[in-house]
Symmetry: C2
Subunit: 233 residues, 2 copies
């Protein structure tokens, strides 16, 4: 019987082309892998090519994750046939605020070995840089884009910070940064700390943390349409 392959979780850069943000172990293993299940085929091909994969891209097996569980699973048969299959998301770590978890869940159900590789995660890098507690934290994904619900959510997050000392992380689509920053300044208490981690690992990286009272008078022009992670603590 063929020994089953592994599911390898390959992070990719969070800033396009920033190949030096990857671990050498991850690139070495990527170069030994010929099957990939990915969030988006086009960007995955682009990324794999940029790592200087020794095999021509056209000869690699690249499958885009679909909602059709069966299609994904039929591609994943390669694992049972002894091939390693790499999982790659659009940016950063597969499965963390990105697709990939369903593939890993399938692997566990089928007793396939799962191997995580090291690479960039904007959430983790924002947390490291926030100066807030990394002993107890929560990532909340995207908050609501409707003002009344957002107000409620921010109040709940602030209560979690003050009651449980749990750092609260969330994100927003870049074109709504102004909306969320204004809501934070309006809703949160003056003493609450807010960290805005903007364009992490990118050319315009800018990470600032201060109290809401200080943010009120600080310049906020920097954040328009740039990817940001928000942290309150």
């Amino acid at each position: 019987m063929t020994k089953a392959g592994n599911i390898l979780l390959f992070p990719c850069p969070i800033t396009e082309g920033k190949m030096d943000s990857l671990s050498t172990e991850s690139i070495d293993l990527l170069h030994q892998t010929t099957y990939f299940i990915v969030e988006r085929a086009k960007t995955a091909r682009h990324f794999i090519k940029a790592t200087k994969h020794p095999i021509p891209i056209a000869q690699l097996h690249i499958h885009e994750i679909t909602n059709q569980k069966q299609e994904n699973e039929s591609f994943l048969l390669a694992v049972h046939n002894g091939f390693d299959v790499g999982v790659i998301s659009e940016a950063g770590c597969p499965g963390v605020a990105d697709p990939g978890a369903e593939i890993v869940d399938w692997a566990h159900k089928n007793r396939i070995k799962v191997v995580p590789l090291v690479g960039p995660s904007s959430i983790l890098m924002a947390l490291m840089s926030s100066g807030m507690s990394g002993q107890n934290f929560a990532f909340n994904g995207y908050l609501s884009n409707k003002k009344p619900e957002l107000v409620q959510q921010l109040k709940i997050l602030e209560t979690k910070v003050s009651k449980s000392d749990q750092t609260q992380i969330f994100m927003e689509t870049p074109y709504r940064n102004d909306f969320i920053i204004n809501a934070c300044l309006e809703i949160l208490r003056p003493e609450t700390k807010l960290c805005i981690a903007c364009d992490i690992n990118g050319p315009d990286e800018n990470i600032r943390q201060m109290k809401i009272s200080e943010w009120k008078t600080a310049s906020k022009n920097h954040y328009h349409k740039k990817p940001c992670i928000f942290i309150i603590g």
Copy 2:
């Protein structure tokens, strides 16, 4: 006036000597840095040496983070004098379940630029590998070592999973793995999923996720005295 330096956050391997888990950007920047504020001087020296730092270790400025805020801040004056200062913890990412946040907080208060580098984090790698939701998760640090309190905590975490679909991560000191695994099997519902991510990025790496009902009959010998991250979802 001298331009201030930066605070650079350097992750280090979570398995001793595993240098290929670091990003090349991080190593390049480390080699340009001569001031370091660290969790433990001995291991930091060992790590810096292993990266093949071009300057002899004895000529680097290495300060161990103390409870004496003033001592740390007097070392950090180097930043005002234009030097970059690197922050290094015992293993993984500074400030994430490790010291370092107070240094970053100081940097923000003093309007010093903070730059996070890419490297391994056992928490993030465990989450990626769990096959559970990475859209909404919390890291809870260490749970209680007293049975009645641990029981309460596990029940609360399980409720957060079922009510808010929030994946719950926690850790334990390796010699208490058996204690915590047994408590999980006793307290959690049969349908709850438990992931044990053991010796991540190490020679005995083993990551398994299954329902509590399945864990009851599975072998659990592997985990004795090895570093583990636990995730319920």
